[in-house]
């Protein structure tokens, strides 16, 4: 602690800035690959939010849906590996049958939990923030309960999906090689997340479904008068969004790791919501914001793995490790607070819709 002022006195500020730039450039390949990977679950959470909130349903239960899906995907993978045997992995992404079964189970469970949120929020017209909180509390409880039940049998997972290996010729391309490598060196869930961003961006602003979704989120009464079934549309979107959140959860327990632990989502569902807000409720914007948040993790992992030397390293040595771990959360808060005034939510976001005839 006491070392910081003296260290700062001795350090040429400009020199350290240049050293930092140099360090970033030297490690850009690793840093950007980590950043894209870390952004995957945040992006999927943000897309879940976009899908729900564009149709007028606030969903803060994303965190709980991700956790449940991460757990179920892992657990069903374990069970399937026990019954079917691991089998030889297919030539791409290290796909095995148990992994696929686990992934499908995770997606189904994600949609099921989303259905509960949809029922509470749309049909029961419960306060949507309370409904989401119930899902978050329940996810911790139920996954913790079942995990404790089976942990005594010390189950081994069904493994995890493998990364795509970018051909060396492409990765070594001058100027753009590192970028292509960073984006494409992902597992199947990571790559599909990027594809889903693009598909959703086009669908939301260019398709009939997109127009209807946005109408239901901005002015449900008007949407209903032109014949859109707002309640059905909201149900559809919320349940579909559950599959995206589930993919984010499955990424944690089946692609990044091959294991499950309690609280493994670590707030990513909420960081996703912040990314959605910063990205102005658009898929592309949310992806950009997720990359921004993830870059903090990219930087801190890089600093940990290849610590900088010289005066920069001297300065970094005084920064406690906990600071780097807290950095993604701090950055999320700062950017959220900075951008929020210029980011406007769908007008009917979070308001339960009641048909005229029903009341």
């Amino acid at each position: 602690m006491n070392g910081i002022p003296q260290a700062l006195d001795a350090l040429p500020i400009l020199g350290v800035v240049f050293q930092f730039l140099g360090y970033t450039l030297a490690n850009i390949g690793y840093m950007s690959q980590t950043t894209v990977a870390v952004a995957v679950p945040i992006t999927l959470a943000a897309l879940t939010g976009v899908l729900c909130e564009r149709s007028g349903v606030v969903n803060i239960g994303i965190e709980g849906i991700m956790l449940t899906a991460a757990f179920v995907g892992w657990m069903v993978g374990v069970a399937a590996a026990g019954i079917l045997g691991a089998g030889a992995p297919l030539p791409f992404f290290g796909v095995t049958l148990p992994l696929l079964v686990g992934l499908v189970a995770a997606i189904l469970v994600g949609m099921l939990v989303s259905l509960l949120h949809a029922w509470l929020a749309i049909s029961m017209r419960v306060d949507q923030i309370i409904s989401g909180t119930i899902i978050n509390i329940g996810a911790v409880g139920i996954t913790g309960y079942v995990y404790t039940l089976i942990a005594s049998q010390s189950p081994t997972g069904a493994g995890s999906f493998a990364q795509y290996q970018v051909p060396k010729e492409v990765a070594d391309l001058p100027l753009v090689g590192w970028l292509i490598n960073a984006v494409l060196s992902q597992g199947p869930i990571g790559l599909s997340a990027i594809v889903i961003v693009i598909i959703l961006q086009v669908m939301l602003f260019r398709s009939r479904w997109g127009l209807r979704t946005r109408a239901a989120g901005e002015h449900p009464r008007a949407a209903e008068t032109v014949g859109i079934d707002v309640i059905r549309l909201r149900y559809q979107n919320v349940v579909m969004s559950g599959a995206l959140a589930a993919l984010g959860g499955a990424w944690l327990s089946m692609e990044q790791t091959n294991n499950f632990n309690a609280d493994m989502t670590a707030g990513r569902g909420f960081i996703g919501l912040a990314a959605m807000i910063v990205g102005r409720w658009t898929p592309l914007g949310a992806f950009g914001a997720a990359l921004l948040f993830a870059s903090a993790t990219g930087l801190s992992t890089s600093l940990e793995i290849s610590p900088p030397t010289g005066q920069l390293g001297q300065l970094m040595g005084h920064v406690p490790g906990e600071f780097w771990e807290a950095l993604p959360y701090i950055i999320t808060i700062v950017i959220l607070a900075g951008v929020i005034g210029r980011s406007i939510a769908p007008a009917a976001d979070g308001q339960p819709y009641e048909r005229e005839s029903a009341s």
């Binding site: 909180t133 139920i142 913790g144 309960y145 404790t148 039940l149 909420f270 906990e322 607070a337 900075g338």
Partner: protein, 392 residues
């Protein structure tokens, strides 16, 4: 002429009495029905999972009974009673904080971070003041520091919401993680026990900062603090101008603003008080129960407090009882895990199920449907029910 009138009048009269009873019993009956239904669903869940996962050869129908009996047995003993109060202490304190936020229309999910930062505050006093001063000075100072640190942790999201509009749900959750790391940093740096082999703080009993034991083996004086906080928060809410403003802002923020209330000041103040209560919960837990901050120290109080506040309908007296109830569940869950082999996490799962039944108003829906079948008017008028629904 007089026949039908005299016949009808007592009937109508009786209906009015039934209405009055139902209306006055509703705040108690609805949580109770929700809890009973949740226990039932929990029993089905325990049985199903016992057959599928826990290695039992068939569905063990007796298991939920054994589990609930063990839970009850863990509570219904002198030790169980004390430990219920001990578990309930932080739940009531933090529940009051979260409930106060609800009254103002603010959703404080930051209890975890505020609790942890309050713990750090109390520990900071214990490690600095506690080495030279007696417990008469250290204990109150540590409690004050816990409250102050918690208030700071609550102030931040309040300030951010008031100035930039950043939603408190996202900022408080992010701050939870920040304060987890702040706590880890504190116990490995400024608050670390000298010569310790791991990041751990001193024991507060050696720093004159332990709360005195007032009941049984481990019933610490934090219980009194929680009991005292209930009337104080009640008074604040229902007998002061600030309380009136909080309730107005929660009921209708626009009307409150047009009425001349400074809503941004109100948001900052309410979040700070909410954080203060959660910080106090952290301080009493440190000084009365855990006594030192060990590596990986964390809490579920922040989320439990949401359940407590919702079950108690954000009313301080309701929060007292729901805090005691959840405290009893936490106290009994350990003996349930040991005796019946049912994981203590059941309590977390039950909380969510209780809340589902509570927010969908299971009791009212059932009464309404029954009334509709009989062709009479609903027993509870829709306005009151709607008001009850909008707890937050």
């Amino acid at each position: 002429m007089s026949g039908p009138v005299t016949k009808r009048r007592p009937a109508r009269h009786r209906n009015a009495i039934v209405n009055a009873i139902v209306a006055s019993a509703q705040p108690i009956a609805e949580p109770l029905v929700a809890i009973l239904l949740a226990l039932l669903v929990g029993a089905v869940g325990i049985t199903m999972l016992s057959g599928l996962l826990a290695g039992h050869s068939s569905f063990d129908v007796g298991l939920p009974v054994a589990a609930y009996l063990a839970l009850l047995g863990g509570v219904a003993s002198p030790n169980g009673f004390t430990s219920t109060l001990v578990y309930a202490t932080p739940l009531i304190l933090a529940g009051l904080g979260v409930g106060l936020g609800f009254k103002a229309g603010l959703f404080n999910i930051g209890g975890r971070g505020q609790f942890l930062f309050g713990t750090v505050g109390a520990m900071a006093v214990a490690t600095t003041v506690g080495t030279t001063q007696s417990s008469y000075i250290t204990v109150p100072l540590a409690l004050l520091a816990g409250a102050a640190f918690g208030a700071v942790a609550g102030f931040i999201p309040g300030f951010l919401k008031a100035t930039s509009g950043a939603h408190e749900v996202v900022t408080t959750i992010m701050l939870n993680y920040v304060f987890v790391f702040v706590t880890y940093w504190a116990i490995s740096g400024p608050l670390v026990l000298p010569n310790a082999h791991q990041p751990i703080t001193a024991d507060v009993t050696t720093r004159n900062a332990a709360l005195p034991i007032i009941l049984g083996r481990d019933g610490n004086a934090g219980i009194l603090l929680a009991l005292a906080a209930v009337p104080i928060i009640w008074f604040l809410l229902y007998r002061t101008t600030l309380g009136f403003e909080i309730r107005s802002a929660g009921a209708n923020p626009d009307a409150a603003r047009y009425g001349g209330m400074k809503t941004s000041r109100l948001i900052v103040l309410t979040m700070s008080i909410a954080g203060l209560m959660c910080g106090l919960a952290g301080a009493t837990t440190l000084m009365g129960v855990v006594h030192q901050i060990a590596p990986g120290y964390d809490t579920t109080v922040g989320f439990d407090a949401i359940t407590v506040a919702l079950l108690g309908r954000s009313n301080p007296i309701g929060i007292l009882f729901s805090g005691l109830l959840l405290g009893a569940m936490r106290a009994g869950s350990q003996s349930m895990q040991v005796q019946a082999g049912v994981p203590a996490e059941l309590v977390d799962a039950l909380q969510a199920i209780i809340l589902v039944f509570l927010v969908v108003n299971a009791l009212r829906r059932w009464l309404d449907r029954r009334a509709a079948k009989r062709g009479s008017t609903p027993l509870i008028d829709a306005d009151a029910a709607q008001a009850a629904e909008g707890v937050a």
